[in-house]
Symmetry: C2
């Protein structure tokens, strides 16, 4: 593992590659464990894909080409490895995995995937060059019933609802069929539909009056068409009352009806999962821009951190992958774990109440008695209690300070255990003693103020 | 997430980048969870480091330079990002992390780290370009008592001992002080000691007679010195009896005494952890080649897979890192998770008994009753039971085959639940029903023959 090279390591933080201190990492582990537990309760199997894909695969979407990290072997300039790069999302590798293993997977295939992805873009708040995503997708062979759209939304809502130490989430849903059917019903045709959608999508950056002008100038639609397209995009409801508001715009099209039905079904099915911190709403302005969704679309805003943009996005696509003979439709949603967590831990809003898993520090007052301390620790571990033995013999006060600095709640002295928070000290047997359940694992703690006392390593 | 690009994805497996099917991935998750649980019981905190390091850092060890993957941003040829590459182990990044955060960490600092690493080398069995390592290290500031060497060995032995579905492990330990003191006691001096160590280390590849000749020719030592150096390397004991065998060679040196004491202490402290599948032995041929260990050294062989080489290695180093003012000594050990697991899952020796987390498939016999099936599933999940609802309404037989193909043990029909392995079907209430504990999670299953029925995706 080590070598002479390590003796004078230069310290060089790399912008856009966030790292966490142990207590901060515990918060991330809790988030990932909660997500994984929820996904597995719903039958999603975990997979991981390799970090690299062939460049031709990564470059299919012109938009992201600038963000790809290309790999080459140091000793093989211009060699055969030129053609691979780091994945920039988990969807491209998953589509490839499904095709590569189609004969060995059972469809519909539910999977979750929590991995790092890399983008070679300029760092800015909430944008990283290396970050963790948590994706769920359900993929069918040839077809995939609509109720899986509902399922994916419900599973992610349930998962987000369990992250009670995070700010509130607002899951915004829409449906491409609804938008496209509405525009078609207005008389917009062909590529005009995509153009109108692309321009209306600018409402999150531009004034409605400016977007209206663009619709007239660039999409070439009439004032009445533009006004109705903009009116549609203002509709936002937490129940299925959006249906009546759309109907009131007096536009008719079969595809619109289909989209309204699907979205109403989705909102009704998700509404019961709303909690104090998680809401769902139909937001008819959501289109997911240039991505090729074909039905349901999702975005998510984090309360108080709207500048982060959507932190959890996805939707339905009729062809996640295809090998020319078989098409694999899918529906999925991807949570930006780092995008949510890194700003919060860096501002000190979230941390853990200790930097080590240890519940107990077993004191050593004399090196001669280290074996006895080790035996106590072994007995505690046999009970499932994480603990550590003092690294050097020292007086009581020093041992307590050693525990305090790490946030370890208990110090074991001989045949007694002391809760160093309350000062309570009681006689105890390491073979039977149990701490209160909430002390068994580090707890995530939140502060409302920005007290970045632990600091941040990147 | 998706886009048009995904419609015709070419399938291209990449040699050296192994991927697992869901049931195989479950085995890996079980291994990692068991390791993490054990490490945390001993107070090791988890961290992750970024995947990249500056190239000058990665290239300090000339040996590995050929194995480094260099990164560049696609749109920035010859730009400022030329200087980073993917880490090839977890020690170099950890040393940098310790220095970068020294003011925010508590020493001795115990950490475990389970991450992928990358090496641009030619693939061969058990050698990958992307693989997962699990490292534990304890790092002190200025000093680190020897008992931490014992601790690291005991923690890894305990972790390996819990991986009962793997073949047996043999942890081989030695001590650089013992070897170097012995050679010094023989009268070898200066760089000659390293040269003799380097040549004796070839015993795993060359005949003893050939190594003896190299010792005479290249190290220029006498026949008596060569014979004693070779005699030392043949000593291998499962207890501290190696001490007497070394003494019988009649070589004396203070450093030798120190090494013998440390190694005997280590072996005596670890012997009680031996199980049916995990053994420890003092093997005085182990030197860890070119790595700059300064005391304890570890290697590990997997029974029946000796051709994989050492699958878990490490040792003590007096300077894991230094900033010029402060030196950070460390002791650690690194398990090659992929190196152990990938050959076993690829040969079909290890897999899981189902490909999904689901314990129950809730049948749907008619789309009209899907809401009732969903309600049953919700009740089961509230009890902590992973389950899924049938994707399409179908007759009983088809639903049972759907469950069978995934290895799901139970199918829920209306108010009854059927164990499809035994055929037993009983009335049950989803709000209170519980499966046997062993059915709650997929189980790792082992086969002795090479029945690679599930296939392997890479």
């Amino acid at each position: 593992m080590p070598s002479e090279r390590a003796k004078t390591v230069p310290i060089r933080p790399l912008s856009g590659f966030p790292e966490l201190l142990p207590a901060q990492r515990h918060v991330e582990q809790e988030v990932i464990a909660t997500l994984a537990r929820t996904f597995e309760l719903h039958g999603f199997a975990n997979i991981e894909t390799r970090a690299v894909e062939p460049m031709d695969q990564l470059l299919r979407k012109g938009d992201t080409s600038k963000e790809v990290y290309v790999l080459r072997r140091l000793q093989e300039e211009g060699g055969k490895d030129k053609g691979i790069g780091l994945h920039f999302d988990l969807t491209v590798p998953f589509a490839r995995y499904v095709l590569e293993n189609a004969g060995k997977l059972e469809f519909p295939f539910r999977r979750y995937q929590v991995q790092k992805v890399w983008r070679g873009e300029r760092p800015q708040e909430g944008r990283f060059r290396e970050f963790t995503q948590a994706d769920i997708d359900i993929v069918g062979r040839d077809d995939l019933p609509f109720h899986h759209d509902v399922e994916v939304a419900r599973v992610m809502l349930e998962a987000l609802g369990r992250l009670t130490f995070l700010p509130g989430f607002r899951l915004q849903v829409n449906n491409r069929k609804l938008i496209q059917g509405f525009y078609a019903g207005l008389g917009v045709t062909g590529e005009g539909i995509d153009e109108v959608m692309r321009l209306v999508d600018k409402l999150d950056k531009l004034d409605p009056s400016r977007v209206r002008q663009l619709l007239l100038d660039e999409a070439g639609i009439s004032e009445e068409q533009a006004d109705k397209a903009l009116a549609l995009a203002t509709i936002r409801t937490q129940d299925d009352s959006f249906v009546d508001r759309v109907r009131a715009l007096d536009v008719k099209h079969d595809l619109l009806d289909e989209g309204l039905d699907e979205l109403a079904t989705l909102v009704r099915a998700c509404a019961p999962l709303a909690t104090a911190t998680v809401r769902i709403e139909a937001d008819l302005s959501i289109a997911r821009g240039l991505d090729y969704y074909t039905g349901t679309v999702f975005e998510t805003r984090l309360d108080g951190y709207e500048s982060l943009g959507s932190i959890c996005s996805g939707g339905r696509y009729d062809a996640l992958a295809s090998d020319g003979r078989t098409t694999y439709p899918g529906v999925g949603i991807s949570l930006g774990v780092s995008r949510v967590l890194v700003p919060l831990v860096q501002r000190g809003v979230l941390t853990a109440d200790r930097s080590v898993p240890s519940v107990v520090l077993v004191a050593v007052t004399d090196e001669e008695t280290r074996a006895e301390a080790d035996a106590i620790a072994t007995a505690l571990r046999a009970q499932g209690i994480p603990c550590e033995v003092a690294p050097t013999a020292a007086k009581f006060g020093k041992q307590i300070r050693h525990a305090e600095r790490r946030g370890i709640p208990y110090v074991w002295f001989g045949s007694e255990v002391k809760d160093i928070r309350s000062g309570n000290q009681v006689a105890a047997d390491p073979a039977t003693w149990q701490p209160p359940t909430q002390d068994l694992r580090p707890q995530v703690v939140t502060t409302t103020e920005d007290s970045n006392t632990e600091g941040n390593p990147s």
